[in-house]
Subunit: 197 residues, 2 copies
C-alpha cells in the first residue's frame, strides 16, 4: 500500500541484484523516477540488449557480440600464448596492464568440489580443443585462492603431457606492501618465488 | 576493446546510477549476463513502467500510478491531519509505524538557499491550496537537519496566520541511546522537549 504498484515492482526487481539491499533498491528506484525518461529507456534497452545479444566467443569463451570475440579476431594477438582466467572480468584486469599480447581462455569458474564444480562444469574441454593449434604456453592466471590453485594444478597435469608449457602468475609481496603486515602464506610464496637480482 | 560493445554500454549506463561505482557496475553487468533472460526482460520492463506510469498525486504530490494516490483516495485516512515530508521515501518510514492515520504532503525537497532551493522549488503552493479543506493540523516531519529546520520554520510562519495548527516531530534522545554518547545538539533538544511524567 505504501508504494504505488509499479514502484513496488521496480524495488522488488532491483532487490534481487547482488549487493543491492532493500534500502539501496529504494534509493535506486526513486532515482529512476527522477531520471529523464529517455535515460531510463536507454538503461532498460542496455539491459535487454546485453543479455540478448551477448554469447560466448566460440574460441575463448569470453562474452562477445559476435561468434568470435574482438581479441580472438585480432591478428596482432599472439596465438602461441593463452592466458587462462576464471571469469570474463579477469580479462579486463589483464588488459589494463597493456602488456600482455597473447590470447585468452575463460573457464567460467574455478574447480570447487565442495560446490560440485569439477572440470566438466568449466570450459576445460574447449581449452584442450584449442591446443591442436600453434599454442606454446598456457599462462594460468586464476586467483591465488584454494580454488585457483587447485584449478592451476589440474590444468598443469592435463596439459604438460601434451607438451604444452604451463606457467602461473607469481605469488609474492604486493608492490608497496610492508613485510611486517604480509600474511604468512604470501610471505612464504614470496620467498619461494625469489629471484636473483 | 576489452568489453564487447553491448556489455560496455550496459556498464556505462549502470555507472550513472547513484552509489554504483565502476567496480559494482561491472559486477552488476556480469550478473545480468547470467540472469535468466526472462528476469532481465522483467527488470527492464519494471524500469520503464515505473518511470512512464508514475506521476505525482494531484493532491499530496507523492508518486502515484493514478491521478490521486491510494492514501488520498482512502476514506479511512483522516483529512484533518496532514503530515508534511521532504521526500516520498519518508512516507514509507512513517507508514511503517502503523500509527499515523492522517494524510501526507510531499515537498520534494527541503529549503536550501545555498543550492538555490526556495519555496518556489518545493510543493509549498500545492500544500497551501489544500488548506481550504477540513485541515486542522499540519505535522511537519522534515529531517532534523539545518534544511529540515528551516523548512519547518518557514511553513509555520506561512500557515499559522491562516489559523492552522503546525506541529513538528520531537527532537530528542533516540530510544535505547546512551546519554554519554549523545551529541550536544540532540541532548539540548531532548532537554527542551522534556515532558512531565
Amino acid at each position: 500500500m505504501t508504494f504505488a504498484k509499479p514502484l513496488a515492482e521496480l524495488i522488488s526487481r532491483l532487490e534481487r541484484l547482488p549487493g543491492v539491499g532493500p534500502k539501496s533498491a529504494q534509493r535506486l528506484a526513486f532515482h529512476v523516477l527522477r531520471m529523464p525518461e529517455d535515460d531510463v529507456r536507454r538503461l532498460a534497452e542496455a539491459l535487454r540488449e546485453a543479455r540478448e545479444s551477448l554469447r560466448l566467443c566460440l574460441v575463448c569463451q569470453n562474452f562477445s557480440a559476435e561468434e568470435t570475440c574482438a581479441i580472438c579476431q585480432d591478428p596482432r594477438r599472439d596465438p602461441a600464448q593463452i592466458c587462462v582466467v576464471g571469469e570474463p572480468r579477469d580479462i579486463a584486469a589483464m588488459e589494463r596492464l597493456n602488456e600482455y599480447r597473447g590470447r585468452y581462455h575463460v573457464l567460467h569458474g574455478l574447480l570447487n568440489p565442495m560446490d560440485g564444480i569439477g572440470p566438466e562444469q568449466l570450459k576445460v574441454r574447449e581449452l584442450i580443443a584449442r591446443l591442436s593449434g600453434p599454442v606454446e604456453e598456457v599462462i594460468v592466471a586464476t586467483n591465488p585462492t584454494v580454488e585457483g590453485d587447485a584449478t592451476a594444478l589440474y590444468l598443469a597435469k592435463q596439459l604438460r603431457p601434451i607438451g604444452i608449457k604451463v606457467t602461473r602468475l607469481a605469488h609474492g609481496m604486493p608492490v608497496g606492501g610492508e613485510l611486517d603486515y604480509a600474511d604468512t602464506a604470501t610471505l612464504l610464496s614470496a620467498l619461494e618465488y625469489r629471484r636473483e637480482i
